[in-house]
């Protein structure tokens, strides 16, 4: 592993911001504010490093400490999910919160991993690609646990159906979810479509993926074992989604300035399909020690998380990354969100076997560096050290905020505004016409016009999908062992009372799994809220988390993972609090599932419950 600093021109070398240079030039102005960092966060970085960060280090800290990656506003509340999970609730939990996705034991040696994530903002900017890459991202989380992805679901929320912008956003998002999922061969087994003006400038695209695996196949994201190799494989790195990083690049590259960098990522589902099959072959051949998908924050995230979860450090040669665009600066490569990439830790002995499999699938693989025992994450660029940091400080010890929150005063008025002021139908005809009107509203009408664009049959294990209450999948073809999954949330309930609203979402998903014949085992959630800097929103968030954690405790099923999406608002108007809850249950034999709908004339109807 020789480094090749001769590849840099003298000007490039002079312009490169190295650790050495950072140590001797403490007063260089750095664009931390433009990268979204707060002054005290920047100071904290300087303290950790005992010098100013290099441009590349600043890139890494700024993206890893962003709200999206660090959960800095939500962390203090999310802790309840762990704290309120009792030992009894963990009975079926093989991997809990904190890994790429939780893993649940469903019996007979089988395990299931599932998780829901948001891709809201990118889908508003570029509906097709935003939604498509949302599906791609969550599926890679599932692969990185060692599982075969077996299905997706898509809880979607749009503004008013008749608003012109909905006509731009909705078809693109639906086509993107379908285009990517269909091309991966993942049946779409359910989801939600809901219309509310609060989402007009901020539609919600949540994507859930499910994977199955045998217990012994579980893989984790950590880099252990001094001398083990760090391998980047999959698509090449381009300038996708790095708008912010160009600020740094302009520091580095004097000639010509930064080129145009797209803020959107474009997905290549075919590349991901190949990546899935390739990863499954790698797992089967047992040549992977640790694995991590590349999502938001790209290589910054993969390097620092793998190293932080490991037992030592990591040394990588960033210039080895295969590029789609050779003009990218190191800061940009570190921040690029190019899709369809994975990173594995491989022993030197296993490397030939690893490469044989990636070659068979025509997947490019590059040894980026190795695991070390230094406790430091060191990144070289043509032999020059551009990053030298304690990995935990990047990946896990980011800032944590106790944001102020308070119950908004307007809530009383909202709660006082009950349906009592609406006229009630007085006659049979009025009742009939009301029912017909309701059946025709977009929030109650059939979603077939959307779900018909999704393949629900592929893989041949779909026992229930749209329009049933829960998607049901067979996991074991011999025994019929299977799972049922439902996602739900009524944002209008949550807007009235976020605590109860979150519990109602949980209860509905739980019931939907139950009526399908499943025994509920685990929960995933996607918490979509407005700005955490608004105390009213923060209160909604805190209440929803408390409600969900309490609800889970009452029902005795744990939250195994999920996602928080904040800053969903237009101007200063936040969306309704939208805690989407997914519940997973197990069926010993999917042949005994119960579909919804009346199947035979003469059947008797019973109303259960209160």
């Amino acid at each position: 592993m020789t480094s090749d600093s001769m590849n840099l021109t003298p000007e490039q070398r002079a312009a490169l911001d190295t650790v050495e240079k950072a140590a001797t030039t403490p007063d260089v102005e750095q664009p931390w504010a433009a990268l979204g960092m707060k002054a005290d966060e920047y100071e904290a970085v300087r303290k950790i490093l005992e010098r100013r960060p290099t441009g590349s280090e600043l890139a890494m800290y700024s993206v890893m400490w962003s709200e999206h990656c660090s959960y800095k506003s939500s962390k203090v509340h999310l802790r309840q999910f762990g704290e309120k999970t009792t030992e009894a609730m963990k009975e079926h939990l093989l991997v809990g919160i904190g890994e790429n996705a939780g893993v649940v034991d469903i019996g007979q040696g089988w395990a299931v991993t599932f998780k829901v994530e948001s891709h809201n903002h990118p889908s508003y900017v570029e509906p097709y690609q935003g939604a498509a890459t949302g599906v791609g991202g969550i599926v890679r989380d599932i692969i990185s646990m060692g599982a075969r992805p077996v299905a997706v679901m898509d809880p979607l929320r749009f503004g008013a159906l008749d608003h012109p912008d909905t006509h731009r956003v909705l078809p693109g998002i639906v086509a993107g979810v379908g285009g990517y999922g269909n091309c991966l061969g993942l049946p779409n087994i359910g989801g939600e479509v809901s219309f509310d003006p609060c989402y007009q400038g901020n539609p919600l695209v949540n994507a859930l993926a499910v994977g199955t695996l045998r217990h012994e196949d579980i893989h984790l994201a950590n880099a252990r074992g001094n001398g083990n190799l760090v391998v980047l494989f999959g698509a090449r790195t381009g300038g996708d989604g790095i708008g912010g990083a160009s600020i740094l690049a302009s520091d580095t590259f004097t000639e010509g300035g930064p080129t145009k960098r797209p803020a959107v990522q474009v997905g290549d589902p075919f590349a991901e399909k190949v990546l899935i099959e390739c990863c499954l072959d790698l797992f089967k051949a047992d040549v992977v020690q640790g694995i991590q998908d590349l999502g938001a924050a790209g290589l910054s995230c993969a390097f620092s998380e793998l190293a932080s979860n490991g037992d030592g450090g990591m040394l990588v040669h960033l210039d080895r990354a295969p590029l789609r665009d050779s003009t990218l600066a190191p800061e940009e490569i570190l921040m690029s969100e190019s899709q369809e990439r994975m990173m594995a830790v491989v022993t030197p002995e296993d490397l030939p076997g690893f490469l044989e499999i990636t070659n068979r699938w025509d997947v490019e693989a590059t040894v980026m560096g190795e695991v070390t025992d230094t406790g430091r994450l060191v990144v070289l660029w043509h032999g020059e050290t551009i990053v030298d940091v304690p990995p935990r400080s990047v990946a896990h010890d980011g800032p944590v905020y106790e944001r102020p929150y308070s119950r908004p005063e307007w809530l009383d008025a909202r709660q006082a505004d009950t349906p009592d002021r609406l006229p009630k139908p007085q006659t049979d005809d009025e009742l009939k016409s009301l029912v017909v009107t309701m059946a025709g509203t977009p929030n109650l009408a059939s979603r077939a016009w959307i779900t018909n664009q999704y393949d629900k049959y592929v893989q041949g294990n779909t026992a229930q999908a749209m329009p049933d209450d829960a998607g049901v999948l067979r996991v074991d073809e011999e025994s019929g062992l299977g799972v049922a999954i439902a996602t739900d949330c009524n944002q209008r309930f949550a807007a009235l009372d976020p605590y109860t609203g979150a519990q109602l979402a949980l209860a509905e998903a739980y019931r939907n799994v139950g009526v399908a014949g499943g025994k509920p085992l685990a929960v995933t959630d996607c918490l979509n809220f407005g700005s955490p800097e608004d105390p009213a929103v923060m209160w909604q968030f805190a209440e929803a988390v408390r409600g969900l954690a309490d609800g889970c405790q009452t029902l005795g099923i744990p939250v195994t993972g999920g996602n928080v999406s904040l800053y969903n608002q237009t101007g200063s108007t936040a969306i309704h609090p939208t805690p989407v809850v997914g519940v997973l249950g197990v069926l010993d034999d999917v042949a005994r599932r119960t579909p919804s709908g009346w199947k035979s004339a003469g059947a008797q109807l019973f109303l259960l419950g209160t």
Binding site: V125, E126, Q129, A235, G238, G239, D240, T259, K260, R261, P262, V264, Q265, V266, D268, F270, A271, R324, D325, S338, Q339, D362
Partner: protein
């Protein structure tokens, strides 16, 4: 009857999976001299009468609002079709 040709290509900095697939397939078929490929769209719009500047302006407007997605694509040409086309 006039005809306007509009060419739309993926932006150079954007991933172009189609182009990637084409280069790969060309290479497998022995066309190894083509080191790069990009795949875009070509539209032909028909109008009554001549294609004058006013028609071209309208066509460019259509190209930029409907026929291309400015986030990921560039309109590389809007022109009257030549007689051979």
């Amino acid at each position: 009857m006039g005809r306007v040709v509009i060419d739309v290509m993926p932006k150079p900095e954007i991933l172009d999976p189609q182009g990637k697939a084409v280069v790969g397939a060309l290479a497998r078929l022995g066309f190894k001299e083509f080191a790069g490929a990009r795949q875009g769209k070509r539209f032909e719009l028909e109008v009554e009468g001549e294609v004058d500047q006013a028609v071209l302006d309208r066509a460019r407007q259509a190209a930029e609002t409907l026929l291309s997605n400015p986030v990921i694509e560039d309109v590389v040409a809007v022109r009257a079709a030549s007689d051979q086309e």
